[in-house]
Amino acid sequence: MNIVYEILKESWTIYLDVSVYMLFGFLIAGILYVFFKADKIKRYLGTGRIKPVFLAALFGIPIPLCSCGVVPVAIGLKKQGANDGAALAFMIATPESGVDSIAVSYAMLDPVLTIIRPVAGFFTAVCTGIAQNFWGKATPAPSIKETGG
């Protein structure tokens, strides 16, 4: 019983540290939602092996969606004409960082890690997307099926 209490106490102090930043992160997320809808992005993702990947990763970084939430959006992008690399890049960049997680990182981690997280997420997404466009086999646009998670 004592252990449970101690764990809850530790968790509560963590919760205290983070709440302010969470609220702030959600505020930014709300503002982004209005100006920056995922379904508007697709027209910027034209053809090409490299540029759409960069754009997809760049758009994905601030959007706060978890890895399962992003799946329908990424599949939607692919369906609307984004190439495989761009869809994969979006699928990686989006969950790896978002305005909310940047706010929380600033609260709990130090500036180095706060800055490197979105940068590293962008880097990973771009590398994967470009690799897919050069070495992968293009797949036909999928018929949307509901995915769990």
């Binding site: 530790e10 963590i14 205290l16 709440s19 939602y33 939430g69 994969l88 790896e96 960082s97 994967t128």
Partner: protein
């Protein structure tokens, strides 16, 4: 207004549960883990990154909820590079997205997807450790020490507001769950 409704409603509902679990895991780590991982992590820099990679890839954590976990691990002395590997590999992949990449794209795409995430995460991990060594600083994290930036009253107020929002959304969600299908546009 629409945006605020989305952020403090739908988005908050999506994230809150996982986030609270993340906070609990962090609390558990802080309580249970050996006081000092520093020596082990310094001797096994690469191994600690591999462990975090193996843990992060199948795990379903979102970017926000992985943060307190990483902070707790750093506090215990894990090298920041390994923590970053977890922060990158954890949210990007999980068992569900792996299946989806394989089905929607193909196996070849899955191999590229996983190996590139692994390679990039490890590379960024090494890079971060190098940055810390180069600057001669140690990673600073706040876990369980009330940060001095923000007065305690404001923290408490924010925690209460956040809790109220989570509970409010939770009950709204309970009320209207005839169909489990969320808006598919998400």
């Amino acid at each position: 207004m629409d945006g605020l409704k989305y952020a403090y409603g739908e988005l908050l509902t999506d994230i809150a549960g996982h986030f609270l679990i993340g906070v609990l895991i962090a609390g558990t780590i802080t309580f249970f883990f050996p006081e000092d991982l520093t020596v082990w992590a310094n001797d096994h820099q690469f191994l600690s990154m591999l462990v975090m990679l193996a843990a992060g890839i199948p795990m379903y954590v979102c970017a926000t909820s992985s943060t307190p976990i990483a902070a707790a691990l750093i506090l215990k002395g894990l090298n920041p590079g390994a923590a970053l590997v977890f922060l990158l590999a954890g949210p990007a992949t999980n068992a569900a997205t792996i299946t989806i990449v394989k089905n929607v794209f193909n196996t070849r795409a899955l191999v590229i997807y996983l190996s590139m995430i692994g390679a990039c995460s490890l590379a960024m991990g090494f890079f971060v450790d190098w940055v810390y060594n180069f600057l001669g600083i140690k990673a600073q994290v706040v876990v369980g020490q009330a940060s001095e930036l923000i007065p305690h009253q404001i923290q408490l107020g924010a925690a209460l507001i956040l809790t109220a929002l989570i509970l409010y959304n939770f009950f709204i969600h309970l009320k209207k769950t005839p169909t489990p299908s969320h808006s598919p546009s998400r």
